[in-house]
């Protein structure tokens, strides 16, 4: 059978380097995150195509079988990094034996959210990409109260690096850009930023606010990494 070992320089077994500390250190790198995001976005497009079917014939059995109380229902259709971070780490722990320092920003257990009813904000919005590229993250809006909050729009400030370089606010997009928040509802919003190749690598910081809700805000950080470390 095949072997993925490229010469086995210092390992007796072809899979031994899975436990290699160097490999562990590289776990959850920007490149891995890019691979994950690109794959997720592509897959969702094909899921939608397959559900529609060439002539629509397979839509009935696929949709009919979806259990309404599916515990992971929020994950379906999600293309952001956040919802899968927990399972990502579980897998990394199991197969990579990660004992190395973790990237706390990428694995913060707190789900980034704005609670409109209680005026509380949780977590921080962290996006990471290599240049040129696009980074996405997700923020959840909650309205646990009995009152319809109407339509909410998110805004983000310019993002500033320590040396004064700015990523302008207009490069940040929200999907959906206007979010209806009826009583007792939660909505996930994808935040996306396009980074052109003239943006220098570095950490850019800004603030996310919600129009009409002056008391809640979230810190935003976009980490731009060079394509080659």
């Amino acid at each position: 059978m095949d072997s993925a070992n490229d010469g086995g320089t210092n390992n007796d077994l072809p899979w031994a380097s899975v436990f290699d500390a160097g490999a562990n250190m590289r776990a959850l790198s920007a490149i891995q995150a890019d691979g994950f995001r690109a794959a997720s976005e592509l897959v969702e497009r094909f899921v939608r195509m397959a559900s529609a079917g060439l002539n629509g014939t397979d839509s009935a059995p696929t949709s009919a079988a979806r259990p309404a109380d599916e515990p992971n229902a929020d994950l379906f259709g999600a293309t952001g990094l956040e919802p899968l971070v927990t399972s990502w780490w579980a897998i990394a722990d199991q197969f990579l034996r990660v004992g190395a320092p973790r990237n706390e920003q990428a694995v913060a257990p707190v789900v980034t959210s704005l609670d409109l009813a209680t005026a509380q904000a949780n977590g921080r919005l962290y996006l990471e990409t290599v240049v040129p590229g696009a980074a996405t993250a997700e923020v959840w809006l909650h309205n646990g109260g009995p009152v319809d909050m109407g339509k909410v729009r998110l805004r983000c400030s310019d993002l500033l690096a320590h040396d004064g370089t700015v990523i302008p606010a207009h490069t940040m997009r929200f999907e959906p850009d206007i979010i209806p928040m009826p009583a007792r509802s939660s909505r996930g919003v994808t935040v996306e930023v396009d980074v052109s190749d003239d943006v220098p690598p570095g950490r850019y910081r800004g603030t996310l606010v919600a129009d009409g809700h002056p008391d809640i805000w979230l810190p935003v950080e976009v980490a731009i990494k060079p394509l080659l470390p």
């Binding site: 059978m1 095949d2 072997s3 993925a4 070992n5 490229d6 010469g7 077994l13 072809p14 899979w15 380097s17 899975v18 436990f19 290699d20 490999a23 590289r26 790198s29 490149i31 891995q32 995150a33 890019d34 691979g35 994950f36 995001r37 690109a38 794959a39 997720s40 976005e41 592509l42 897959v43 094909f46 899921v47 397959a50 559900s51 079917g53 060439l54 002539n55 014939t57 397979d58 059995p61 696929t62 949709s63 009919a64 079988a65 979806r66 259990p67 599916e70 992971n72 994950l75 379906f76 899968l84 399972s87 990502w88 897998i91 990394a92 197969f95 034996r97 394509l227 080659l228 470390p229």
Partner: protein, 350 residues
């Protein structure tokens, strides 16, 4: 905590299961192939690839998914044989299109019988695959049978779309490709027919049309893409004896792999010029020295390391998607086999 011994067991279990499936499916394929004249230039060559040892991943996925969703043990054997026959048909034509010299450790059909006989043999395998599928779906509820044929039509078109896209990139000498373009390519030309389709058909028939097929696209792609990228890497870093195909064959062909795409985006100056010149040439005009030079650049620019990391990001969530896709499946050896596939690719990773 997973020990090295557990990983050795896991690899042995998965490969043992695949070998058993391969044996049964090979017999099914050879039984289905006609045996008359012209033997030397049609039915003989048609038996060539199905006789050679293959991984049988596709039929194994189909059979296990079907049983995990409730099918009787051999209920989908015909469907699995049809999938593998069509795969063999694709391989024959693929080798012609690529000008490949080796397949499964032996010369390609085009190399031994010429292009015309190879094309006929490929067509013949595709037609027999259809015959086998028709027999296999005869006993199903007509609506379910129609859905199965629809899955096959979709799969065949996806694969052709992918093949055509790749041919176009090479003929048009397209160089501004990104990793996302590569993922789209392998979704079409590899993952749909290698992992997604067998899983979907197995679940569809096994559940009598009740299973949710969408999560299988997610699991199938994440698993299949990692499997394919690993295969591409083996072509760059493996050895011919264990790989079964010619090493660096993808480079000779100028195949747009993820590694090559990274190199295209990273190479500068003279390196970039060398690469552009290399890609503009036809296969016959690429010397061993040129191939080795491009291969060295892949090390120099970290393209091999990039490929591994990018694919790891895709594989890391495959297990989560597995649990979503098989939440309604029944426990047993088939579910165990399917669940072991992601760890299997991990264990074979670096």
């Amino acid at each position: 905590m997973t020990s090295t011994a557990d990983h050795a067991d896991l690899i042995a279990d998965v490969e043992g299961h695949l070998r058993n499936v391969a044996k049964v499916v090979r017999r099914g394929m050879l039984d289905a192939l006609p045996d008359g004249e012209p033997a030397q230039w049609l039915y003989g060559p048609m038996r060539e690839y199905p006789s050679r040892p293959g991984k049988a991943l596709r039929p194994a996925l189909c059979l296990s998914a079907s049983r995990a969703f409730g099918a009787e043990p051999d209920a989908l054997l015909g469907v699995a044989v049809a999938i593998e026959l069509l795969h063999n048909a694709f391989l024959v034509h693929d080798d012609v299109a690529d000008g490949s010299e080796m397949r499964r450790g032996r010369p390609t059909l085009a190399a031994t019988h010429g292009m015309a006989a190879a094309l006929n043999a490929g067509d013949g395998l595709a037609i027999v695959s259809g015959q086998v599928l028709r027999r296999a779906t005869r006993g199903l509820d007509p609506e379910l049978a129609d859905l199965v044929w629809h899955e096959f039509d979709t799969m065949a078109l996806r694969t052709l779309e992918g093949q055509a896209t790749e041919v176009g990139w090479q003929l048009d000498n397209v160089e501004d490709l990104k990793p996302q373009d590569y993922l789209e390519l392998i979704m079409l030309k590899t993952c749909w027919y290698t992992t997604i389709h067998p899983l979907r058909v197995g679940a569809l028939v096994g559940s009598g049309g009740k299973a949710d097929l969408a999560p299988l696209v997610r699991f199938g792609f994440h698993f299949g893409a990692a499997f394919q990228i690993r295969d591409d890497l083996l072509n760059l870093v493996g050895d011919e004896r264990t790989y079964g195909k010619e090493i660096l064959g993808d480079l000779y062909e100028g195949k747009r792999t993820l590694t090559l795409m990274h190199l295209l985006s990273a190479a500068e100056g003279n390196d970039r010029a060398l690469l552009s010149d290399y890609l503009r040439r036809g296969r016959a005009e690429r010397s061993d020295g040129m191939v080795r030079a491009v291969r060295r650049l892949m090390d120099d620019y970290g393209s091999i390391a990039f490929t591994r990391e990018y694919a790891e990001g895709i594989l890391l969530v495959a297990e989560e998607y597995f649990e979503q896709a098989f939440v309604d499946a029944r426990p047993g050896p088939d579910l165990d086999f399917l669940r072991a596939l992601v760890p299997y690719v991990w264990a074979r990773w670096r």
